[in-house]
């Protein structure tokens, strides 16, 4: 009985964590799938909240109260503030109509599946020793990271780039919290939030939109160094 009582919460803990992580992966896929920017932002917000839940759950299960800070930040910053900020920016930059897939959805989904399976394969191969808790968490986190990366390279404009990076970072936090008792997780999550703030700030201030991925040659001539037609290149 005691044994059962001992086991049950572990099982529950595992199930919940696994479920949340899985949901995050699904969210990543949705991110890949969306081609309207607002939809992308909403989906991301959802993913961030899922992350917050997952982190909080980890904190609760393993009695790491400090993780609640991370969770709160994930919820507040990435779940609410940044999506709203990006919303405004999209309006400001007037790119809310854009379809900015560099690769068409089908193929990017296909790539996504490939990456996910690669991640699972790797991690499950790698960590026979570690607790299943860690394994699943790690595998899903890696998948989320790779998908975020994929999103970064399949999207054109800065905003979706940010979103891609943030979903990478979600994956990282997930992995970090999944790695039990890892120090500095909170600090790191703070550091990352700073990064993202910078990111947003940069896009916001420098109107990065067109500077991000434009392929017009005369534009490159103007900006990138080492072109033939160029005056003083400083």
């Amino acid at each position: 009985m005691t044994l059962a009582l001992d086991v049950a919460p572990v099982m529950v803990a595992y199930d919940v964590a696994h479920f949340l992580a899985g949901m995050m992966l699904v969210a990543s896929f949705m991110l890949l799938y969306q081609d309207r920017i607002f939809a992308v932002l909403n989906t991301f917000a959802a993913q961030a909240m899922l992350l917050a839940l997952a982190v909080a759950w980890q904190g609760y299960v393993h009695h790491h109260p400090d993780l609640f800070i991370t969770a709160a930040m994930a919820f507040g910053l990435k779940g609410i503030v940044i999506p709203l900020a990006l919303n405004r920016m999209v309006v400001r930059l007037g790119i809310h109509r854009d379809v900015d897939q560099a690769v068409n959805v089908a193929s990017s989904m296909f790539l996504g599946l490939g990456l996910t399976s690669l991640a699972l394969l790797l991690v499950l191969k790698v960590t026979p020793g570690a607790s299943s808790f860690t394994r699943e968490g790690l595998a899903l986190a890696l998948a989320v990271i790779l998908l975020g990366f994929l999103m970064m390279i399949t999207r054109r404009n800065a905003v979706t780039q940010i979103v891609g990076f943030m979903s990478i970072e979600n994956g990282l936090i997930l992995a970090a919290t999944g790695a039990r008792g890892m120090p500095l997780v909170v600090e790191v999550s703070v550091a990352f939030s700073v990064l993202i703030a910078l990111f947003v700030f940069a896009v916001f201030v420098f109107r990065i939109r067109e500077r991000f991925d434009s392929v017009e040659i005369e534009y490159l001539d103007r900006v990138r160094g080492d072109r033939r037609v160029q005056g003083d290149g400083r």
Binding site: L122, V123, K125, V126, T127, G129, A130, T134, L138, L142, I145, F149, M152, Q161, F165, I168, E169, G171, L172, A175, A176, A179, R180, G181, M182, P183, L184, E187, V188, A191, L195, L198, F199, A202, F206, I208, R211, F212, R222, V223, R224, G225, D226, R227, R228, Q230, D232, G233, R234
Partner: protein, 478 residues
């Protein structure tokens, strides 16, 4: 709790805060030099110090000379930037406010790099590198021209992605350690990890190494992860280019080496050698070819930095006492020489009023002093005697040849191609009839003279102490 070790990190931070408060840029420049000098002086005390191993700090024969080198180049660079920034303000490319910011950031950057070098905790090491990266991003963009912003932006994106990957690698290392050392701090303490390396989970280490290689490799500027490097060098202020090439690349590579040691200490883990050799050769040859079409003098030398980082990675990939020795030696030679070159280039660009190679001709007629400095620098970086790089490249090639002749041939090919490009540019810069206007610059030739004379001495004579020291480090690297 070792005071002077912490001082290395604390002094720059304090100085940075102070400099942020000083309005006059002249005083700021002087303060910058003083602070860097103080840091350097403190670091010198390491040479006499027994190894230190604490929870967060470590000082072993590997990072000691990296710290010393770091602070030394930081010192000379601050001296150079003092004479450089003055000119930038006269030409109005920077306002005193920005210079204030610049000085503060300079110190902060030095602090970050020192932290990364001294950290015994892989998480702290990561934080240090991330900090250094972000600061340099800001510094690169400081001129706020479209080019500068574009470069900074590219650097930023690639940098943070690299950082994220490196962080994931760090998590994996922690997981590997967790299995043996238990949860919490010990599993992130490098010395403890190394001590129990053979017992760690090999597979996790392998996976971690991949992520760390890609993550930190981006900072090192290994092809094909190098994209940020040339533009960041070309568009930022020259002192920053000098620091980037001379120090930041080294620090990133150092971080990579730490983990290489870890994985090399594990018998079951994958041998990092082949991967590093491949990437190193790729960077070497790729960069060598890229040198030919450059039109911007700073971008030219940025690519040569990629080339040399490739060579060094290649050397460490070969491993063995001699190759490691040569790799360490080459790291030192490269950071000294390359920063010296950037010092000279900075003044050349100011004298000629352009960074475009097409605008820089007949330098040996207009500015003989600068010409000599630049010539010696380029000759040294091309691995020609009597400078130190000749010895390191001789050792790298010969030790490789003894084991893998074909690899040695490939490396030699890359080096020759690069040498061809560099000397072609050098001749065009130095000789022929001068073109365009040229202004007199109040260049302080002391910094590059110090560096080049060090390199020259190293080419002829390595003190036994230094040799012993390098050998210890080389053995650590396995």
């Amino acid at each position: 709790m070792n005071v002077s070790v912490w001082a290395i990190a604390v002094i720059p931070i304090a100085a940075g805060i102070l400099l942020a408060l000083i309005p006059s840029y002249r005083v700021g420049a002087i303060g910058n030099v003083l602070a860097s000098g103080l840091t350097f002086a403190t670091s010198l005390s390491f040479l006499a110090m027994p190894p230190v191993v604490e929870d967060y700090v470590i000082l072993d024969s590997l990072n000691t000379f990296f710290v010393v080198l770091n602070t030394l180049v930081g010192f000379t660079t601050s001296a150079f930037s003092a004479s450089y920034i003055g000119h930038e303000i006269e030409t109005g490319r920077l306002t005193p406010l920005f210079v204030r910011f610049y000085h503060a950031m300079f110190q902060a950057m030095m602090a970050a790099m020192n932290i990364a070098l001294l950290a015994n905790n892989i998480g702290v090491m990561w934080v240090g590198l991330e900090l250094a990266t972000l600061i340099t991003v800001v510094m690169v963009g400081i001129y706020r021209t479209p080019n500068a912003l574009e470069a900074a932006w590219k650097y930023f994106i690639l940098g943070i992605v690299g950082i994220s990957l490196a962080f994931f690698g760090t998590i994996l290392v922690y997981l590997a350690g967790q299995g043996v050392l238990g949860e919490g701090l010990p599993a992130m303490t490098w010395s403890k990890l190394l001590a129990s390396a053979p017992k760690l989970d090999a597979a996790l280490l392998n996976l971690a190494f991949i992520f760390l290689l890609v993550g930190y490799g981006t900072k090192v500027g290994l092809a094909p992860l190098h994209a940020w490097l040339p533009d960041a060098h070309a568009e930022g202020p020259t002192p920053i280019s000098a620091v980037l090439s001379g120090l930041l690349l080294n620090v990133a590579l150092f971080a990579l080496l730490r983990f290489k040691m870890l994985i090399a200490a594990h018998p079951g883990a994958l041998k990092p050698g082949p991967i590093m050799i491949t990437i190193g050769l790729l960077s070497l040859i790729f960069a060598a070819f890229m040198l030919y079409q450059r039109r911007d003098i700073k971008r030219l030398f940025a690519y040569s930095s990629i080339e040399h980082m490739g060579l060094i990675t290649f050397a460490f990939g070969m491993g063995g006492p001699l190759a490691n020795f040569a790799g360490l030696l080459h790291m030192v030679m490269h950071s000294l020489t390359k920063s010296a070159i950037f010092f000279a280039v900075g003044h050349v660009a100011q004298a000629k009023g352009t960074q475009q190679l097409s605008g820089i001709r007949g330098l040996s007629v207009t500015n003989p002093g600068l010409a000599v400095g630049l010539a010696f620098g380029v000759i040294a970086i091309s691995g020609l005697p009597p400078f130190g790089a000749f010895m390191s490249e001789f050792l790298i090639l010969s030790s490789t040849f003894a084991r893998e002749p074909l690899l040695a041939l490939a490396a030699a090919f890359g080096l020759l191609v690069a040498l061809g490009a560099l000397l072609l540019r050098l001749q065009n810069i130095l000789f022929g009839a001068p073109t365009g206007p040229h202004h007199k610059v109040s260049a302080s030739s002391l910094p590059w003279m110090v560096h080049l004379s060090l390199v020259l001495v190293a080419g002829l004579y390595l003190p036994a102490a230094v040799i012993a020291w390098f050998q210890k480090a080389a053995e650590l690297l396995g």
